[in-house]
């Protein structure tokens, strides 16, 4: 532990090869971003963004539109490659910039999109079956049979997301809020180490919002790390976790919600006077 390498960005240029690109000792964080920059046609979506998420931590990320919140998730999940900077997972053991989306999911990073995306013509039950951690190979899945353990796990998830009575309905027939919960349930079924949740309560009623906060707290209490991007301040307060405020692609402020919302710059660019 004491021989931690320097955190200087230049160590990022050390040769790294795929999954074996270990940076053990670099960090103890589950997720480690350092100096990440992403440019689209000259626009800096992320500008030297650095932050970490500890194992078991839940973190809320706020910030105005265009602050880079979704781009940050795209970088972590392999959808967008950073121009420069380090993105490491599993205490620095895995370089995420070398992997594609599916490999990153397999490592244990689940993502919920801003717009709820469930499989509309499948039943709620089949949605969870598809998401459940297990065989992913095409040919093997032709002959796959569901095991008792899998059925039990699905029942547990139904209890958590409180959709048990909707199990045989089609995904496309659920209400907006129910779709959001189903998608969170699908993430849970993947059993990721880290859940990235993009605006889970957009378009929800107050009661649904409160329920969602409770659901995420429960998921976090069960040992999953969670990163939530959200605009809804009541919801962020309900979560009661450390908050990171992004602005123009970098970290503007970090701390408890009270500390962040007392920050002069945050008030100026985001909360308004």
């Amino acid at each position: 532990m004491s021989d931690i390498e320097t955190l200087a960005p230049e160590t990022a240029d050390a040769p790294a090869e795929g999954l074996g690109a270990a940076k053990t000792g670099l960090t103890e964080a589950l997720l480690y971003l350092n100096g990440v920059t992403v440019t689209f046609d000259g626009f800096r979506a992320l500008n030297e963004l650095s932050f970490t998420v500890d194992p078991g931590e839940m973190r809320a990320i706020i910030g105005p539109n265009g602050a880079g919140k979704t781009t940050m998730m795209d970088v972590i999940t392999g959808k967008t490659r950073p121009d420069k900077g380090d993105v490491y997972f599993n205490e620095g053991r895995t370089d995420l910039t070398k992997l594609d989306e599916t490999e990153i999911v397999t490592l244990g990073i689940g993502r919920k999109f801003q717009k709820p995306t469930v499989f509309e013509s499948h039943t709620v039950l089949d949605n969870l079956r598809l998401a459940l951690k297990g065989q992913r190979a095409a040919l093997a899945n032709i002959f796959r049979k569901e095991t008792a353990a899998e059925r039990e796990r699905i029942d547990e998830i139904f209890e958590t997301i409180k959709l048990t009575e909707h199990r045989d309905r089609l995904g496309g027939n659920l209400s907006h809020g129910q779709k959001q919960w189903l998608e969170i349930g699908m993430l849970l079924a993947q059993d990721p180490k880290l859940l990235l949740v993009d605006e889970p309560v957009a378009g929800m009623t107050d009661a649904e919002t409160a329920q969602t906060a409770e659901l995420l707290r429960e998921i976090n209490a069960n040992g999953h790390s969670v990163v939530v991007v959200e605009h809804d301040m009541t919801f962020v307060r309900d979560l009661g976790v450390r908050v990171l405020c992004l602005h123009e692609g970098s970290v503007l402020a970090e701390g408890t919600l009270d500390q962040v919302s007392a920050n002069e710059r945050v008030i100026e660019v985001y909360l308004g006077r």
Partner: protein
């Protein structure tokens, strides 16, 4: 308390059972009525009708193969005629080699067109086609390998939607041009024809025709069961999920391109088998089978019958081709293509789910009204 559904889902639904029953009945009745009744009898089915029905059944199998990828994975292939034609050519090559010395030029090895072109020896790719088992394997392998290579590149580069449709169309057009050339060694413009025997049986004989019909019905039934098994497996659920929300599938940890590739190759192999059964029944295979219009016509069959229903695809193929036979033989003949075009427009506008799809929707709504099932979902919108 476990509430998960533990019953294994039935492989065939009601419509599937009816479909198989009709095919089995046809496979027995049509040959019996052809072979065992007197030609003058009211019950007699003439041999030309047997071959015509057999042709419809091979088209139905082709439509089934297209429905597997279009209806369940959302891959709109406008080049499936190519796989059908390749299967047909593999069978045609076998049939050519069976002619032997009975050809016009009487060459024991070389088919007539090669003698005509002054070729001295058989091209290497014709070797082995004198053996039926080899030809039978090629019927599946030739389209399968083309689909594997084509799909590997297309799906890996994430070509989807209309762009994929266009390159499938380009693929079949390129093959059309290639097979037109005499020096390709597949008979050029005239294709392969003048067949005599299949497995030692006279290809013109009533018994052979009846057997080919029964085999086509059997192939369609087995093809249906295979597709039905695939789309109801976990694999098939992933296919449907890809159709509805491909990005979500990737972020659920599935390699969508591998799933598409497997479905595409299975579909191409089925199309190849359909082509192989088609050729001995119509007696010819030529490059026009590769023409882009043929592939588009398959899409019309599937759309009319009902995309994503399997049974509907087969039904659509038979109905549209029956209409084609009926209308192209009368005074309406010059207007058939207008009718076909009109049919496609009408189905798209007024019956977007096709005949069988509309029936299923009506049935599901009725069940939903009595609380037995959930309302059917409107056409799933592709996510993001």
């Amino acid at each position: 308390m476990s509430t998960s559904d533990t019953r294994p889902p039935a492989l065939l639904g009601t419509s599937g059972l009816i479909f198989i029953a009709v095919l089995v009945a046809a496979a027995i009745l049509v040959p019996v009525l052809n072979l065992l009744t007197a030609p003058g009898s009211a019950l007699h089915v003439p041999t030309y009708v047997v071959s015509l029905l057999g042709k419809y059944l091979t088209y139905a199998l082709l439509a089934l193969s297209v429905d597997l990828i279009w209806g369940y994975v959302g891959i709109l292939s406008l080049g499936h005629g190519a796989f059908f034609a390749l299967g047909g050519y593999a069978m045609g090559m076998y049939l050519m080699r069976q002619i032997g010395t009975r050809g016009v030029y009487g060459d024991p090895i070389l088919p007539d067109f090669m003698v005509f072109l002054n070729w001295k020896e058989l091209p290497w790719f014709w070797y082995g086609f004198d053996m039926f088992p080899f030809a039978a394997v090629m019927v599946v392998l030739a389209p399968g390998i083309l689909a594997l290579v084509f799909g590997w590149f297309a799906f890996r580069s994430r070509v989807t939607g209309v762009y994929l449709s266009i390159i499938t169309q380009a693929m079949t057009f390129a093959l059309l041009l290639a097979f037109f050339r005499n020096d390709m060694g597949f008979g050029g413009n005239n294709g392969l024809t003048d067949f005599k025997d299949i497995l030692g049986f006279n290809i013109q004989a009533d018994g052979t025709r009846a057997t080919l019909f029964a085999l086509s019905a059997l192939a369609l039934a087995l093809g249906y069961v295979l597709c039905r098994y695939l789309v109801r497996s976990h694999f098939g659920k992933v296919l449907i999920a890809i159709r509805d929300a491909e990005t979500r599938v990737r972020f659920t940890g599935y390699r969508a391109e591998n799933y598409k590739l497997v479905a595409f190759v299975v579909s191409a192999a089925l199309a190849g088998i359909a082509g192989a059964l088609y050729v001995p029944q119509v007696g010819i295979i030529n490059p026009s089978e590769f023409s882009p219009a043929n592939s588009i016509e398959i899409i019309v069959w599937v759309a009319v019958g009902g995309r994503g229903t399997l049974v509907g695809a087969a039904l659509g193929a038979v109905l549209v081709n029956y209409a084609k036979t009926y209308f192209t033989s009368g005074f309406l003949a010059p207007y058939w293509l207008f009718m076909l075009g009109g049919l496609f427009v009408a189905v798209t506008l007024f019956l977007p789910k096709g005949i069988v799809g509309t029936f299923y929707e009506w049935r599901d709504r009725r069940k939903a009204a009595t609380g037995e099932a959930d309302e059917p979902v409107a056409e799933p919108r592709p996510a993001e």
